[in-house]
Amino acid sequence: MLAKNLWIRWVLLAVALVLVSFYLFPLYWMYVTALKSNTETFQNPPTFWPHDPQWRFAEVWVEYGLASFIKNSVIIAAGTVALVVLLGTGCAYALARVRSVWMDLVLFIVLMMQVLPSSLMITPIFVAYNQVGMMDWPRTGVVLAQAAKVLPLYIVLVRAAFTQIPKELEEAALVDGNSRMGAFLFIAVPLARNGILVTAILIFLQSLGEYVYARSLITDRALQPATVGLQFLTGPNASDWSGIMTYSAIYVTPILIVFVILQRRIVSGLTSGALK
């Protein structure tokens, strides 16, 4: 019995590895292209490992000033997540708990607020920022705009997480003399912790990749995030593809590693026992 179970587990692992390798093929292709010369990318038949690998990581890091770009990306993404969690968690909770026509309307409006892509929102935002002098704090401006963009996503998803928590726990807490604020903060939020954290991760990663607002609102190179820096490697006629892929590899790898580790703890989480 034990042997049979063990065997199944290894089979599952093998299948999992196959699935992952299928899915990650484009990622592998990115790494391989980073090592190839610009022309080998177009070689027919395609080569799965470069003839003459060029390790341009140090060169790209220094020449394109990746340190500053990545720092700015992290600042903007972290700021966005902080703002979104602050504003959105409460709203998601209220929407999950209260069922009324008003709340339905609010949920509808929240969804509608993220209907336009950033490329269509940027012009009015730019003009408005100009009027109020927001252009003097460019990264803050991007954080505010991006937070507005992802807030509906956060609210909808965290609301779904809150609905999975039975009301009885909070009611018990209220009977015990807690205020609703207390019940919210000390019972509901910890229980929905996994949903909140996973959504926060998704939003962080999404905001790292934010390009449109950052490009239009941040003109000072020292404040620009990595996505804007990357775009500059494409030109009107020529694009340094291996440089672009190298840049991307440097940028993506640490983030991927960090979040693989992080999600492991969060998604599998410790909720199973709490509901009892």
Partner: protein, 300 residues
């Protein structure tokens, strides 16, 4: 003073406060651009009059022009296919992967995280890499298919009008899998194991357990993921810009890319706004359906 405070900490005011904070913020930042775009769709907009509201009003002229364009109907149907197929496959593959990785085998949780790659890669890079994979002459996909003997000649995934849309959809499905998979994994993990155990003791098969336990308990998650998936897919732009530019000859053009072409390449900004307003109408339908469906969710 105490009473005022209590209303917000305890009473109905509590919920309103929580909601108003977020809603107020959204209205300030997102409602304004939305209204701005809607207004623009009724005006004759010029590249240089973007900053003011004061533009000539042309009524429904822009709408007539857009709806009368020969390419409108094919682009519309392309969009329907794009959204429908993308969301369907992203959801089913994402869900299947979430279920698979829920099982107990060594490294399951590590490997699951690797699927986040699709969400982390910059749009420019995803587009470029998929462009090379799908290239007709030197693309990896053709190479593998021919080596395995599955196809005879090269398939021009991106430049053949009959398949270019589906090629872009494939790339888009790849992009959307992490979102679906991770969120559904969280939902799955929240279902206590003893619920399944009880059902198993009762003799329920795996499929039966899936249909009667898993799906209903995941209802909230599924609804959220589907509706958000539709909205995201309607905004998906990078894959079109990088792979086919909506070509060849609009074979893979969709409303969102067309709106961008009208506004930013041809400078027909009023008409670009019309297309985005049409997309808003589409989203209104989706949002209404979702909000109604939340009435059926278990409240706990």
């Amino acid at each position: 003073m105490l009473r005022f405070d209590r209303v917000f900490r305890d009473g109905g005011g509590f919920d309103s406060l929580l909601v108003m904070l977020a809603l107020g913020y959204l209205v300030v930042f997102s409602a304004f651009p939305l209204i701005y775009n809607v207004i623009m769709s009724f005006q004759a907009v010029d590249l240089f009059s973007l900053a003011s509201f004061d533009r000539p009003y042309v009524g429904l002229d822009n709408y007539r022009e857009v709806l009368g364009e020969r390419v409108f109907t094919p682009i519309f149907w392309n969009t329907v296919q794009f959204v429908g197929l993308s969301v369907f496959f992203q959801l089913t593959i994402g869900f299947a992967l979430a279920l698979f990785f829920q099982q107990d085998f060594p490294g399951a949780t590590w490997l699951r995280g690797l699927f986040l790659a699709g969400w982390i890669l910059p749009g420019l890079v995803v587009g470029a890499v998929w462009g090379w994979i799908l290239a007709g002459d030197f693309g990896v996909l053709n190479h593998v298919l021919q080596s395995l003997g599955l196809t005879d000649g090269k398939i021009f995934w991106l430049s053949d009008p009959s398949v270019s849309l589906y090629s872009v959809i494939i790339a888009n499905i790849w992009l959307g899998i992490p979102f679906n998979m991770i969120l559904l994994s969280v939902g799955l993990a929240a279902i206590p194991a003893d619920v399944y155990e009880a059902a198993e003791l009762d003799g329920a098969s795996r499929l039966h357990r899936f249909l009667t336990i898993t799906l209903p308990l995941m209802r909230a998650q599924l609804g959220a993921v589907i509706s958000l998936g539709v909205i995201f897919t309607l905004q998906q732009f990078d894959v079109f810009a990088a792979l086919t530019r909506g070509g060849p000859s609009n074979a893979s053009n969709v409303l969102q890319y067309w709106a961008w072409q009208l506004s930013f390449e041809e400078y027909r900004i009023g008409q670009g706004s019309v297309v985005s307003v049409l997309m808003v109408l589409f989203v209104i339908v989706v949002a209404l359906v979702y909000v109604r469906s939340t009435r059926n969710e278990h409240a706990g």
